[in-house]
Symmetry: C2
């Protein structure tokens, strides 16, 4: 009987969504473990080896508790049901994509975070985060290797009349090799995120530590700062104006970084990349300022056409990527066109992922070894 | 009539608590502004010029919404009432102490954070934070002065078989003055907090930036790491064992910091301080390891008796502080006894504050100029 019901549920699920990651729905394995992004000592939320997520929320008097993560993690939601102890529990109807997901909990019509999970800035708010174990999670795992430092810097920004925050990853050895200088990748977050995204959700520092420890890349510096488009005065994406951020990045942050860190302060050793809206910013700024960067990367953030780049004589690399659940053909075709036009262009498609951080972690892992090769 | 009722309310308030900051209760001024610790673009929570806090929570179907901050901010709570739009609102019954306060919101019996506020790690969970403007807030304000960097480091810890996190404040000029070396203050958080507390809640980096910009101190490095007592295996405070943390701090972190930063790696240029439980840890470790540190500071974290220090021949300073709402006489008497015994001891009492971060921000501001003077 139980099996019959679960079969019905499976049918119901498929009739609702196309987002379930497997074409054949296995029984849910009861090997749930706490998400690695839980707050210290918290058991829930949990994830199992198939990618299902299970939630537990205490709110004995609540009328309704719904988790925003649902079928395959990309649409719908997961309504929790109250047990006899007044505790609300529920499991996603389908396995989620591998990697990091934002979510929140709607309790009696109000939006809150899961008290069990750590918070990450996305959707223009600090959201709860959950990590679905990935088959390739080794490349961003915390290992017993030399670790770089992530420095919070407050740089003067006359154009915005404040001290603005950036995070600067300096690779292992930076402190000891006082004579060595390093190239710099300026790496931008997406809409609704901020300068914390790439190190927190993206684990960019661990990806770099591991690549360096394995000798797969020469060390370089990564800089993240706030793209500013969340600020009301810059409006939404439709009436987005790149000028204020371009001024902060090119006229204020880059000079600060070149002054306070041992960079190689020239175009050949300066790259810009961004995810989603950060890709749009990367495209705008690299096209407006062809003399500043020599390596461009758009991660789920649009494409370059060959004619866009005709005046970019010092361009060394164009990298364009997305998840297989986005528009991989658009990315591949754009790179074919760029190659035909004689540019050094590389495409990458993250298998089985959508417009989400696992796509961008993998993209950084693919991009890093291609940077600053000359 | 309204006045008569408010008089009654005032009487009711006083009958409940001793924590209201003023002896005469003025009318609530309607000059509420968003707390400076709100999430970007969020209007609530708000604070007024008298120190009252006003909260707004959207949960239209909820039965009960109570904010944990209450009378004077140190006890009780503030029940919110639902208006016609299904929005819950309420104002604290009394003014709160100046400075930073943790809080959470109990919705239908479940504990959640305020979606409008930033989160800070305290009470062994990420709590909401609110900032009551202080008459002396200038000393920890973000100003247009040279800013130091706050570096997240992951240091190897064989004793706990992991890479542990620390934050290292390097003062302005650290990057440029490649030949200069600096003393180090190891500064610990309190129970239920972690290594993020001193820079986030404590604003230690801004306090240092401002002191240095005003020429009131010579630059030094500050290091924060996790006191570990939140980990189940170390149990609660009653059966607290200092050994595991002492091993991490003295045998693992200090050597890492001396290797990766330009420190003056000797006892004369090494200080330890801690707030609350961190004071207890400071006392334990400085007494167990009299050869490691030369400056000791306990912030709302106990006292030293003269006999404790008889073998500490290289001791240069003992600093003991607390809030005037704690046990100031105990602090003052302890320092008198230490002075009578010939020690260089200094006491400080933060006026009008309790066991909270404004006490500890002010304590650091008082302590810093006394460190590393010889």
């Amino acid at each position: 009987m139980k099996k019959y019901i679960s079969t019905l549920i499976v049918f119901f699920v498929f009739s609702l969504t196309l987002c379930v990651a497997q074409s054949e729905k296995p029984a849910i394995k009861e090997d749930f473990k706490p998400s690695v992004l839980n707050q210290p000592g918290k058991e829930y939320p949990m994830v199992n080896s198939q990618g299902y997520a299970r939630f537990r929320i205490e709110a004995p008097e609540a009328q309704s508790v719904v988790v925003s993560l649902g079928l395959g993690g990309t649409r719908g939601g997961t309504p929790l049901t109250k047990n006899d102890d007044g505790v609300w529990m529920g499991t996603t109807a389908g396995p989620m994509d591998e990697g990091f997901h934002y979510y929140h909990v709607t309790i009696d019509g109000g939006v809150f975070n899961d008290p069990g999970a750590l918070n990450y800035y996305g959707s223009v708010r600090w959201e709860s985060g959950i990590e679905i174990p990935a088959h390739d999670q080794d490349f961003y795992a915390l290992k017993n290797v030399p670790h770089g430092h992530v420095q919070q810097v407050l740089f003067p920004s006359p154009s915005t009349e404040t001290s603005r925050r950036a995070f600067v990853y300096t690779p292992p050895g930076y402190d000891k090799n006082q004579s060595e200088r390093y190239p710099v990748l300026y790496l931008q977050h997406g809409w609704g995120e901020d300068e914390t995204a790439w190190m927190n959700q993206g684990r960019a520092n661990l990806i770099m530590d591991n690549l360096i420890a394995e000798g797969k890349i020469d060390p370089f510096i990564i800089v993240n700062t706030y793209g500013m488009t969340n600020e009301i005065k810059f409006g939404g994406l439709r009436n987005f104006d790149i000028t204020p951020f371009q001024t902060v990045l090119v006229d204020e942050l880059i000079p600060y970084v070149d002054e306070h860190f041992r960079t190689i302060p020239d175009q050949a050793h300066r790259a810009m990349a961004g995810l989603s809206m950060g890709g749009m910013e990367t495209k705008d700024i690299t096209l407006n300022k062809p003399e500043v960067f020599s390596h461009y990367a758009l991660l789920s953030g649009g494409i370059y056409a060959p004619e866009d780049l005709k005046d970019h004589s010092n361009l060394k690399l164009v990298f364009i990527s997305c998840g297989s659940k986005e528009r991989p053909d658009g990315v591949k075709n754009a790179v074919v066109a760029l190659k035909d036009a004689g540019y050094n262009a590389v495409s990458y498609v993250s298998e089985g992922t959508a417009h989400e951080f696992q796509t961008w972690r993998r993209s950084l892992y693919q991009l890093a070894p291609l940077l600053f090769k000359e």
